[in-house]
């Protein structure tokens, strides 16, 4: 009798553990096809619009961005980790801009999760962000993802007229050594 109790208890525990671990490890994934349909507010400045190859004041979708590879950073002006990471991301952007093979073909887009245009602009000015930032006040990005959206999250996307938008890599949290991440971007360029 006692053995049965022990066995039952152990089985129950094991199930609990597996369930817990699998929930904790629920992988964050973006549905690229759904993301391609999301309409974002255009960035505030003309410079940012030109950078993305956009014009006008209407909302835009990611496939309209003039790029072979899009690096999306989902951030929040309020997120202290995003603030601490801002200079590192700027550095990554500078590396891309100074590489003739990547400049003009790889575009960076910051998506401010839960942020208003005003809040996104505070972040842009504070950290002198040279790429485009747009607000996502309604947390749309979460709606096209599985797993909990944490900030910052980086998604490298390949654009292709035939295949459409595809996810090359997703990274949650700080980037660390950006020269390593540059390799991921170059890999995405080769595949696109």
């Amino acid at each position: 009798m006692q053995r049965i109790v022990v066995l039952l208890a152990l089985t129950g525990c094991l199930l609990g553990l597996v369930q817990g671990v699998s929930l904790a490890a629920e992988k964050f994934q973006v549905d690229a096809a759904a993301l391609a349909k999301l309409a974002f507010e255009p960035p505030k400045t003309e410079q940012e619009k030109q950078y993305l190859g956009l014009s006008g004041t209407e909302k835009f979708t990611l496939p309209r961005i003039k790029a072979r590879v899009i690096v999306v950073e989902v951030f929040s002006m309020y997120c202290p980790i995003c603030q601490a990471e801002a200079e590192n991301v700027n550095e990554l952007h500078r590396l891309v801009e100074s590489d003739a093979a990547l400049k003009g073909k790889v575009k960076f887009l910051g998506v401010g999760a839960g942020n208003t245009p005003f809040e996104v602009n505070v972040f842009r000015e504070k950290f002198n962000v040279a790429f485009a930032l747009v607000p996502d006040d309604g947390f749309q990005f979460q709606k096209v993802s599985t797993g909990v959206l944490k900030t910052p999250t980086f998604v490298v996307l390949s654009t292709d007229r035939r295949k459409g938008l595809t996810v090359v890599e997703t990274h949650v949290g700080r980037l660390g050594d950006v020269t390593k991440y540059l390799k991921t971007i170059k890999k995405a360029m080769k595949g696109s």
């Binding site: 006692q2 208890a9 904790a24 603030q83």
Partner: protein, 205 residues
Amino acid sequence: MAEHGKRFAYREIIVIVTGLCLLAGAWAQGRSAGLDKDIYDPGKMKPTASQTKLKVGDAAPDFSLPDISGNAVKLSEFRGKKNVILSFIPAAWTPVCSQQWPGYNIARAFFEENDAVVLGISVDNTPTLYAWTNQMGDLWFPVLSDFWPHGAVAQSYGVLREDGVSERAIFIVDKQGTIRYIDVHDINTMPRLEDLIGELKKIGK
């Protein structure tokens, strides 16, 4: 007698093993629930759970509270010098709160343009606030502990909730010590920065 002892030990082992396993399962699930590994997610809460009697035009109740460096900060010290934003947050280590002050931290220029200072207030004790605000970077404004008598300042502003945490509330107090703006916000959501800055601009220097 010896057999009885053996059976007892056996039962104890069962209880201990079961307990440990359950704990391990709960730990793994807890980590997934929060936005970050250190953030506790209380789930969706009742938007507000108190009723302030204060209104715009009233004199702001004065108080003195310790900041995380151990200095006492008195509201009336700012009289004639600065507009003061009192930012009550419900609790340390919870999702929205953990980002609200880092937001104010990088918006410093907007507050200074309007001759304003932020006083962050929480009912947590000083050591908790110290550890929590450490991961926000260097905050330019004081963080005050309204721990003891528990939540007394939150109470005097009518924003202490029934469960002992405070509302997510903002009071703007002008240089004359008069309340110019009150936002007892939905505890689950972030007050918009532009709303706060807009109200500050109305008061001016």
